[in-house]
Structures are given as C-alpha cells and as structure tokens.
C-alpha cells in the first residue's frame, strides 16, 4: 500500500471542479442535500456509500447527465449548469466511464475511439486513429482495435471505454462504478488500468467500493449517505477509523 509515492501529488492551488450548494430532487425524494465540494487538479477521489446515497447522482450532475435543481457547479471556473457554449466546451474536459460501458455496439473499437475526436474536435481521421491506437495500446487493447464490442469480454469492453474517454484528452474523468458489472476475474484488469491512469496525474472522481484501489491511488474518500457527505478524509483514516456510526455500519456490511 506504499505504492502511492508513484502517483503525482495533486496541486491544491488549482481547483478543477467547484460545487456549491448543490441540491437535487427526484419528485419529493431529496437525492442530494446542499453539497459543497472542491476538487483540485490531479486529485483522486473515491466516493462510496450505500445504494441510494447519491454518489452516482453527484458525479452525474458534474457532467450534466442529471440536472441539479439548485446550486452551482464550476468546471475550470465555468458555470456548467446553464446551457451555454462555454459550458459545452468546459464539459469536454470531463470524461466519464460507465458501469455498463455504453460502447457503441455497431462500431469497431477503433471507431468508438475516433468518433468524438473527429466530429467534436475536428481532428483528421489519420491523426485520430494514430492517437487511438496509442491509447488502446496503453490499456492493452490495441490488438482488438478492429473488433466489435460484442466480441469482447466485460473487462475488455471497460478498458475500451476508458480508452474512448482518454481519446478526448479529459482533465477530469468520472467513474460510475466501473467494476460493478464485471465478473470477478475481470475486475483486476480494469483496476490496473485505472491505477496506471492515476499515475498519469489526471483528476479522477470514482464511485467504487474497491477499497484496495482507494487505498492505493486515492487521496480522499468521500462517504455519502442520504444525499449528504458524511466523511471527507484520507482512505486510511476512513477505512481504519471511520468517525460516523453510519460509515462503520456501511464498512461492516461490505467487508
């Protein structure tokens, strides 16, 4: 667990995401209650908590897959809760990896990786393909570049999904339970990919219950319950000495 030295430290002077007074309701259900959170450049944060605690909703609010009802979210200083061209541009710096991969099934691995760079950023096809090959190589999937997603295992698909996100050069990557839909023997290959990613210094917000991963790469663990952040501390402090009763109960249940 001392490998963390290989991971570059975050830059505490540079906030990437600033969330103030965030509230979200689904009908009368209060999913997020006045969340305040600042994420700095290069920080790696693990969010955990019981099902329905609001952790997924929180990261989905950051890239506007969910619309918050109240509060503000700044990405690189740009308010993203309003529909503006600047907001769209700022959100291009935010990538997301989903629990169910959400690869485009009718496109090859390579086309999955080049669609956004060629259409959104106007990269030419050759340039985009070269970059995609390089990134696929990094996640160990380059030899599958011409296959379709359905021909791959879950772990392989998730690594492709990570590569697809990386092809847009995001400053921040959001992970929404990236290993939860995988068979146990495939969890490790995805986590290894994520650890490598952490070493590159990219900012990561990761909803996961993989404690080994949290200890290995995260500086902060946020524990959410009923839409509130109950603990915001280091992984070691959280897993070894949870302060709140609810965190203790939660940890007892997942251990």
């Amino acid at each position: 667990m001392t490998q963390k030295s290989a991971v570059p430290p975050p830059d505490k002077r540079r906030p990437v995401i600033e969330i103030r007074g965030l509230n979200k309701w689904y009908g009368s259900y209060h999913a997020l209650r006045s969340i305040d959170l600042t994420v700095h450049q290069g920080e790696r944060i693990v969010l955990c908590g019981p099902s329905g605690s609001g952790k997924s909703t929180l990261i989905r609010c950051i890239n506007q897959l969910e619309r918050p009802n109240e509060g503000s979210i700044l990405v690189h200083g740009v308010e993203v809760t309003r529909d503006t061209a600047e907001a769209d541009k700022a959100l291009r710096e935010v990538g997301m990896v989903f629990q169910h991969f959400n690869l485009f099934p009718h496109m090859s691995v390579l086309d999955n990786c080049t669609l956004a760079p060629t259409t959104v950023r106007g990269e030419n096809r050759r340039q985009a393909e070269e970059k995609a090959h390089a990134i696929l190589k990094k996640v160990g999937m380059d030899n599958h570049a011409h296959k379709y997603p359905t021909q791959l295992s879950g772990g392989q698909q998730q690594r492709v999904a990570i590569a697809r996100t990386l092809c847009m050069d995001p400053q921040v990557i959001l992970f929404d339970e990236p290993t939860a839909a995988l068979d146990p023997e495939m969890v490790k290959e995805v986590l290894d990919t994520m650890v490598n990613l952490a070493r590159s210094g990219v900012t990561m917000l990761c909803v996961t219950h993989e404690m080994g991963f949290a200890r290995q790469v995260a500086e902060r663990v946020l524990f959410l319950d009923h839409g509130t952040v109950l603990e915001d501390t280091t992984p070691d402090a959280f897993f070894d000495n949870p302060r709140t009763e609810r965190a203790r109960n939660f940890l007892n249940q997942i251990l």
């Binding site: 959100l91 997301m96 959400n102 485009f104 099934p105 009718h106 669609l115 021909q151």
Partner: protein
Amino acid sequence: MSAFLQDALALVVDPDLFDRYGWRMLEGLWITVKLVGISFTLGLLLGMPLALGRMSDVRPVQLFCRAYIYFFRGSPLLAQLFLIYYGLGSMRGFWQDVGLWWFFRDAWYCSLLAFTLNTAAYQAEIFRGSLLAVPKGQYEACKALGLHRATAFLKVVLPQSMLVALGPLGNELILMIKASAIASLVTVYDVMGVARLAFSRTFDFQVYLWAALLYLLIVEIVRRVLRRIEWRLSRHMVR
C-alpha cells in the same frame, strides 16, 4: 392422362387469355411496383420527421404529429383514397386556380398521395418505437463525449434504431404492396386493375390467380432483399 393434365393447365394458364392479357398484366405489375416504391420512399422521408415531432417537447408540433398519426392510422386507406380522389377531386375550380388540377384529376397521383400519407403515419410509429428502443446509456455516452446532437443522432442512435425498425418496416412494405390493390378501385390499372378488367370481359377467374401470384412474387423479392439488409446492419452482433 396427358389430356387431363392439359385441361388442368388450361384452367390455370389459358394460352388465349395469356395472349390477350399477359402483357398488360406485366404493365400492371410495373404500375404497382412504382406506386408502392415511390409512396413507401416518400413515407420514409415523411415518417422520420413525424416520429421526431411526435417525441418533441414543443407542444404544438407534438399535437400536430399525434393528430396526423391518429387520423391516418385510424381510418381505412380506402376511405382516405376516396376522400382525396372524389373529395378533393370535386374541387375542380379551386385546383385549377392554384394550378394543381393536373394532380387531383389523375387517379394515379391521388393514389400515390393517399398511400404516402397513410404509410407515413405507420412508419412514424415504427420509427418512434425503434428510437425509444435505443438504450438510455447510448444517449448518455454521446453526451459524456460531448458529441453534437446531429452526430449523436446520425452516427449512434439512427443505425441502432434502424436495426430494430427493419422488421416492422418490412412488414409495412409487404402490407402496402397488397393494400395497393385498392388503387384499382379508382381506375388505376395496377396488377389488380388489369385483373379486374380482364375478368369483367372474360369472366375467367384465373386472372385473379395470376394477380395473386404476381403479388406473391413481389413480396418474395422484398423478403429476400430485407434479409440481406438485416444481415448487413447486424454484422456487429455475435452470430
């Protein structure tokens, strides 16, 4: 024995009858193919915007598309054809004033219009269903990657929904081919029109058998083409 066979064959293909009406029947076949081919294609072009309008958040647009689909799916094609050919066709003065009389006095154009409007409503519902069948995660992935709305629709959503739409669209095309026989009631000499003409002059029922076989032939060709397209669209699936 062979005399019996010849008699039996003459019941199905009488050479004299074939000489008189065989060629006209093939001309009728071409009319049917044109009528269905053009109206189905126009219906496709009209059906997609209707489906999108039906799913639109803009209230008036949505209401218009709903009303359109409700009417053209809910009333008989025959009634729609008569409304256009006899109804609109009775307003001769008006159409002459606006320079569209050439269109509404012609049974073929009126059939084309009725079939187009009718199939567009059905196709709109097929498209709507197939668009809704694309998983939500696909839309989310597009948004998370920052894809433009047009790119997301054309490159991600549409290809996946077309695979779902293909079966029902094929069904609709086959139904259209057979329903097009209705055009014969307003003096269009399609397959059925020629068969009716031949029957009224000869009272030989076998012309209807020929007509049925010709429709069967078109449907069989359509079926095979559809199978190829489906194979092509689904090449990414594990087979």
